[in-house]
């Protein structure tokens, strides 16, 4: 199937002639291998702009769903997306493309680290990379916190702080903390929305 076919493919067209399993695998492998520091940008570019497999709205909706569900978001998105186009085989093909090739690279990196990880220069380089990577993660945290701060969402910020202390400082087990925190947070959010309405 030529990839330069007219970009008119909306959802109904896709259902009559969806991409083949090989095409799904290759497309997701490409997005994944392009994605340094996160695949989301490339997934949006590939799925929405390049292949026109989803509209921007469909993509956002699907991503929102996969973001509020647990687990690696982009993996969830890939699985759901693949299954919409080609059922379970489609899900497996897209997932294998997304995870397979970079996981192989990771195994090679792991083997190299296992062998050469004690070399002083490499240890120093990785320490430096880690410092920068932590900064990148903190930037994401700040960006996500900004709306809470702007809204002066004191309860949200206190919830955030409580989780930070429980997990980051007290090092309590994740499952135990969340089994308490999730129902509590949902109850509080629900009550506040009802009050506001």
């Amino acid at each position: 199937m030529p990839s330069d076919s007219p970009p008119a493919a909306t959802a109904p067209d896709l259902l009559t002639s969806p991409p083949t399993l090989v095409e799904l695998f290759l497309a997701f492998a490409k997005m994944s291998l392009a994605g340094f520091g996160g695949v989301l940008v490339w997934a949006r570019r590939g799925i929405v702009d390049q292949h026109k497999w989803m509209t921007a709205d469909e993509f956002n909706e699907t991503f929102a769903l996969c973001h509020f569900l647990p687990g690696p978001n982009i993996v969830n998105l890939t699985f759901v997306f693949g299954s919409r186009l080609r059922g379970l085989p489609g899900a497996v093909a897209a997932f294998s493309g997304l995870v397979g090739p970079p996981a192989l690279i990771m195994v090679v990196m792991g083997a190299l680290y296992h062998r050469y990880g004690e070399i002083d220069a490499l240890r120093r380089i990785l320490s430096g990379v880690a410092c920068a990577a932590i900064g990148l993660m903190l930037a994401v945290v700040f960006r996500m916190m900004t709306p809470l701060i702007k809204r002066r969402d004191l309860i949200g910020l206190l919830t955030l702080l409580a989780i930070f202390v429980a997990i980051g400082v007290l090092r309590l087990p994740l499952a135990a903390v969340l089994l308490v925190a999730i129902p509590l947070s949902i109850a509080i959010t629900y009550a506040r929305r009802k009050e506001a309405a």
């Binding site: 392009a34 769903l65 299954s83 120093r124 990148l136 919830t159 629900y190």
Partner: protein, 178 residues
Amino acid sequence: MNSDANPVFTLALTFAVMSLFAIGGANSAIPEMHRVAVDVHHWLTDKQFTDVYAIAQLSPGPNVLIVTLIGYSVAGLAGALVATLAMCVPTAVLALFVSRFLARSSHARWPAVVQAALVPLSIGLMGASGFILARTSDRTVVAVLMTVVAAVLASVTKLNPLWMLVAGGCLGFAGLIG
């Protein structure tokens, strides 16, 4: 806890359960990965754990693949495969069922409440991830500066994050990070 048990089985169980609590994505589960891999099972040292995180960030692909590296360190190829699948498949299948259910029902109301309730939890978890990694990594003034500069640059510019990782690597190679 029980180091006599088959490590591959332990990996599978650990990551399958962990994935169900990784709200906001793989980076939210880093504190739990650290707790399990460093404190509970002693699979990795503190330094090795931050190294593994750095390698995962330097490599292409989804963030979740840090578990591939952890699995590899514990039990080689089998460990890498099992850890990756255990972390990905249960939640992917869950997502599939939920998306099919939501496509059929028009009750799009409750996910909005759940989503709003989960946001602060997920930010708190990511903050804890940064804190736990920084405790090991940011031990010198230059190291802390590097982290702060990367955080500021990533917040206010559209600079490709890969450049900051490379800059960090160069400073580290020069022996400035410690």
